[in-house]
Subunit: 219 residues, 2 copies
């Protein structure tokens, strides 16, 4: 069976995975880019062409960042990761934050109560809009994954729902040393989670701590 | 000027420094001893005579644990650390969780809205019950400290109040890889704290991560 994985999922010291007040200009709300600074400077993120100039760093942050892609056949994301809109689509012009050639290069299942037609982008990314609970969404995603692993892309609510349903095998959380104070928390409602996972911590000279949670019994 | 320090202050992944439902039998509520497991096995804690048998470990957890005492002339603690009672004292029989010869061996300022006479214990510990805001309590504690440093002993509410008042120079937080779900959070109301502190992270083979926050400009 393919694995369900989460990568490069950043939270603040107080456990927020995103700030308050998401808008078109501020995908992470008042958190700005602070939760992703550690990643923006890596060779992996530079190679995606999204951020900054130069080759980027190749230390421990890059080693973790680079694990995001290999072996992945599909991503599942919440609607808030796809865009800042809420409720029914006013139009279907919005095609995500990532331009005409998104970074995914695989099918992407977008969880929403307001489905719309499949959106084919350049470079192999296709957005599938699905109104389903985690287990059913995972089943549909696996059908699109060609036997490869499934990445849960976020945001916090989506990762939490999949953790609650005990559907995640590998969870890479990056603890960023900032106190956000408000936004969406990752760990809420997950009391006792540690009973299901082994946990390994690795600090980076950049100041973040990489936590890897591996579900007991997962390969 | 002497420093204000916090040591061995454990929080769960979701930021709780204590669980819910403190009682005489459960000082940390439903958290039990899980937040302090990393410390209980150290040489330092064994030497205090509180926990377990044998000499204890002498790795990185012990190195941090051992920094608790040296240079400290007084501790300030919240009333909930002193005991499980709330409101006016029904009697004055309760003398803390630590027996006749408490581990502190210095004056201890207990913050409470219900003062009572100074309590002299064996081994040099004296409990002073003080109804004061952080800045004033700190002033009173420094008068008792003989020029040495002040330790803020917890719990969460007390540490948070001193952080809010920007009175803490050195904050050692131990992130324990458990999700408690409920209790008292350390980081609430401290948005932007990182602007005032440099932060260093050290993981331990025991599974915890030691965070040391040093106030910018503190020696």
């Amino acid at each position: 069976m393919s694995l369900v994985r989460v990568h490069n999922f950043s939270v603040s010291l107080d456990g927020f995975a995103t700030g308050e007040g998401q808008t078109l200009e501020a995908p992470f709300g008042h958190a700005g880019s602070r939760l992703m600074e550690w990643a923006i400077g890596t060779r992996t993120f530079r190679a995606m062409g999204l951020h900054g100039e130069g080759p980027g760093s190749s230390g421990v942050d890059d080693a973790f960042a680079a694990a995001w892609g290999p072996g992945i056949g599909v991503e599942i994301m919440g609607r808030n990761k796809f865009g800042p809109h809420r409720g029914p689509w006013e139009d279907e012009e919005w095609k995500g934050w990532w331009g005409g050639n998104p970074v995914f290069h695989t099918p992407v299942v977008v969880l929403t109560h307001h489905p719309r037609p499949v959106l084919e982008m350049d470079g192999g990314t296709t957005f599938h809009f699905v109104d389903a609970k985690p287990a059913s969404a995972l089943e549909q995603a696996r059908d699109l994954a060609g036997g490869l692993d499934v990445r849960i892309g976020g945001g916090a609510i989506t990762v939490r729902q999949f953790l609650e349903a005990d559907l995640i095998d590998h969870l890479h959380v990056v603890v960023v040393p900032i106190v956000l104070g408000r936004g969406e928390r990752l760990w809420d409602g997950l009391e006792g989670l540690e009973g299901r996972f082994g946990i390994e911590a690795t600090p980076s000279p950049s100041g973040v701590v990489h936590l890897v949670l591996t579900r007991r019994g997962s390969r």
